[in-house]
Symmetry: C2
Subunit: 215 residues, 2 copies
């Protein structure tokens, strides 16, 4: 498979982990988001949204939106399953994934940060309050749910990695980049550390991709 991504894209990170866990061979083409490559005509012809990831599985139109790609891989590929078999457990894994992928991540993407600075004239540091609020709101929900709901195990849903974990870790790695205090989220932290210890996650880590700053 061939994926258009970027080292710092949380959404591309999720898909890389899934492909590593499932043993899918892929090539990633890293767009330079700072240079606006995602808005050039060549890429807009692939994804009119101007967003990564965009995945090609052989011929056929590109697949977009990370959660839709994760479901597609689950439905079409062999290897490790990343959703439980039980419908209620699947629903919980998906719900936790969407706390991140719907209600948190879209609030701090570059286009939102740019709009806040350009339209409202907010200096960067003040704009970042919006981002920090998104992070802490999302982390609070994850912590409350993961620390109280019976479904939590070694990972978000039981003892097997699921889409919920791919989303959790994609949020977690941002806490370091943006200086978010993680002390209030011990359950999230425990699961994040278990995930980072997996080779499939470590190899997919944003800071290990081409273009990432030196650690």
């Amino acid at each position: 498979m061939k994926m258009y991504g970027n080292w710092r894209s949380a959404a591309a990170f999720r898909v890389r982990i899934a492909m590593n866990l499932k043993g899918i061979a892929y090539e990633e083409i890293f767009l330079d988001l700072d240079a606006g490559e995602q808005f050039k005509p060549d890429f807009l012809a692939i994804n009119p949204q101007g967003a990564v990831p965009a995945l090609f599985d052989g011929d056929g139109p590109p697949l977009t939106q990370s959660l839709a790609i994760l479901d597609y891989l689950e439905e079409t590929q062999g290897g490790m399953k990343l959703l439980p078999a039980d419908p209620r457990e699947r629903a919980r894994a998906r719900s936790l994934a969407q706390v991140v992928a719907c209600d948190t991540h879209p609030l701090y993407v570059p286009r939102v940060r740019t709009f806040l600075m350009e339209h409202y004239g907010l200096p960067r540091e003040k704009m970042l309050d919006f981002l920090r609020n998104a992070f802490t709101t999302g982390l609070n929900v994850l912590e409350k749910r993961l620390s109280t709901e019976a479904g939590t195990g070694r990972y978000c849903q039981g003892d097997a990695v699921s889409h919920a974990d791919l989303c959790l870790i994609s949020l977690w790695v941002g806490t370091g980049i943006f200086g978010i205090d993680t002390a209030p989220y011990p359950t999230v932290k425990r699961i994040a550390e278990a995930l980072l210890a997996l080779d499939a996650v470590a190899r997919a880590h944003p800071l290990r991709q081409p273009g990432a700053p030196a650690q």
Copy 2:
């Protein structure tokens, strides 16, 4: 089934449509979001996120996040199918759904609007620029994709209603409420009008639920 919802919740609207189309009997308990009922202990015990919808299917823990609920209904209930059988078509329907449910709707929910006004001291009218930007960005992506991609038919994906349509219409009904000019989105409009002509959609419409303002 029993759902906690609210007349104006775009996410609850999606779930109501799915239950109507599938012929699922349900009761909806309407929380007063303006009075903050979603943040009272009784409801936080159901959904720590303080968000609707939360769905009970018999006993067992509540189901949350509209897209996770839609997949759960698809996997466990009979009646009309709301995702195509083909994996690529399913992926496209889900991707279009997520353009709304991930990248658009979470940007204009009340908690974001409140944060912008309270934290940045923006007057309501100026805050609404953020909301309008979210709407027009999302509608632009939908229009570009729906008007150019081969998969579009009478509805977003072919000629059968899918999760993409439930999300599209949940965004569309907001254009009237917030005064968004819909002229630039003729394909979105065509599909929205086809959807509004369906009894299952019309009965689920926000303005036909208890608590909605008179039209």
